[in-house]
């Protein structure tokens, strides 16, 4: 059941690097991460790879496999032909550190810029009452394992480094949606979504949804509803007209 698989793995660091060819044993039922580990244990002991739970729950082993952003632990080897070359590269939206490991600090910075859950002023701990139907929407977004594959695939920053400053990316726009839909959150999120976090950059091409290993419907359930909520506030022509008229004399 075992065969010699052909792998092309990117080796290098921020100074430069290249795709290197390897032949590695592949056994039945294995995933890409197993093969990368075998490569590490037998041929390349210093190859850097980030991983943790190996069960698709922690979101550490994000990489690009044959060009598609994926978790290495959830990409099964039987999805490839035995003679197919499997190309593994680090995520290409973030600066590389070494081999398959990238510097994802961009994401942690963006996370900090979103104001935290604002608890209702008059409800004590233990007295929170929420209905299941009201928490379900936000619960879907809280399935996020922060693998940052959506951030990696999003062309707004993948293809345009300069947008990183003004665009928080699908993961964090979804976080805003999560808080906006939280039944007890007391903060206003909609204005900031558009103005500070760059919701308007999103052109809903849905790659974030396509690569999400948790199958969260990021675009349909978080980004578009958020765009509609912003439209309620900003793009209602009557509101707009009112603002224009009122602003003039000032």
């Amino acid at each position: 059941m075992s065969y010699k698989g052909k792998f092309r793995v990117w080796r290098g660091d921020s100074e430069g690097g290249e795709l290197k060819d390897y032949e590695v044993e592949v056994n039945e039922g294995e995933v890409v991460l197993d093969v990368i580990h075998r490569l590490q244990a037998t041929q390349t002991p210093d190859m850097a790879v980030r991983w943790n739970c190996k069960a698709g729950k922690c979101g550490s082993c994000s990489a690009e496999i044959n060009g598609m952003p994926k978790l290495m632990c959830m990409c099964r080897m039987n999805t490839f032909e035995e003679d197919e070359v499997v190309t593994v590269t680090p995520m290409r939206t973030f600066p590389v550190i070494k081999d398959l490991v990238t510097d994802v600090s961009f994401n942690y910075q963006k996370a900090r810029e979103i104001p935290a859950f604002k608890p209702p002023a008059d409800v004590k701990p233990g007295e929170y009452r929420m209905q299941q139907v009201d928490v379900e929407r936000s619960q879907e977004f809280r399935k996020c394992i922060e693998c940052f594959l959506c951030q990696d695939t999003c062309h707004v920053i993948r293809d345009h480094e300069e947008n990183k400053e003004s665009f928080s990316g699908p993961r964090f726009l979804m976080r805003i949606a999560e808080l906006d839909m939280h039944p007890l959150d007391a903060a206003d999120r909609q204005h900031a979504a558009q103005e500070q976090h760059g919701l308007g950059f999103c052109n809903i091409t849905k790659c974030c949804t396509e690569v999400c290993p948790e199958h969260i419907k990021i675009t349909d359930n978080a980004l578009i509803p958020m765009k509609e909520r912003v439209a309620d506030r900003k793009y209602d022509p009557l509101v707009w007209l009112g603002n224009k008229i009122r602003r003039r004399p000032a």
Binding site: E84, V96, Q131, V133, D159, N163, G198, C202, P225
Partner: protein, 266 residues
Amino acid sequence: MATGVSAPGRAQVGLKTARSDRWWLAPLRIGVILLFFVVYATIRIFMNKWYWVGDFHYLTPLYSPCVTSSCVEGSSHLGTWFGNFPRFLPFSLITFVILAGFRGTCYYYRKAGYRSLFFAPAACAVPEPHKSYTGERKFPLIALNLHRYFFYGALVFGLLNVYDGIQAFHGKGGGFGIGLGTVIIWVNLIALWLYTLSCHACRHIVGGRLKNFSKHPMRYRYWTFVSKLNPKHGTFAMTSLFTVILTDFYIMALSAGWFSDLRIIN
């Protein structure tokens, strides 16, 4: 300075994309379909004929409602609201603006268009060819946020189409009748309504905008219903595109006398 995936600091892989699958196939297919529809619709709209089958009261959706005095006799069953339109201005102008607007600002078509026609991006993890990207934050693309108003318009036209559909139960020489045309018109109507109701703006308006569903049980039910349709919005968008073309082509053919309607009753 290199930007995008070859920006300094990122892994210099040397390939624009390492995707080995046929990622270009889907955007190409969708692009061809969209272009075909645009060309077909433009030609048909400027033809200004063959949109009405008097015998069976079939009116093509591309010309509904026909409300100018230039309309062929009988086709303006909603009345004549305007006078003669000049030759260069199609009678279906209002219809066209609203319906093209509805589809053009639709979240599904935006995805399809950005991917197939603007390559922004053509497929996931495939670099887009543009130097800069500002998204839907500036004129004209900011206008896409007006989707909901086109949705309201589309609802009105949807109702007018239902009226047309009822008219289409018309036998030759009066009375009740059903032909293949009636069936096609109704299939198209169903497709159009599924497309319209599964719209993201509709989902937002019926209930999505609420913070607490539990306080609005009726609206939660509407939202749940729309939420069931919504994941298929893209399918409905493409299906209804085909049914509109089919309906229009069938009526054109009958009206031009290329073949005659297959009658089931009368």
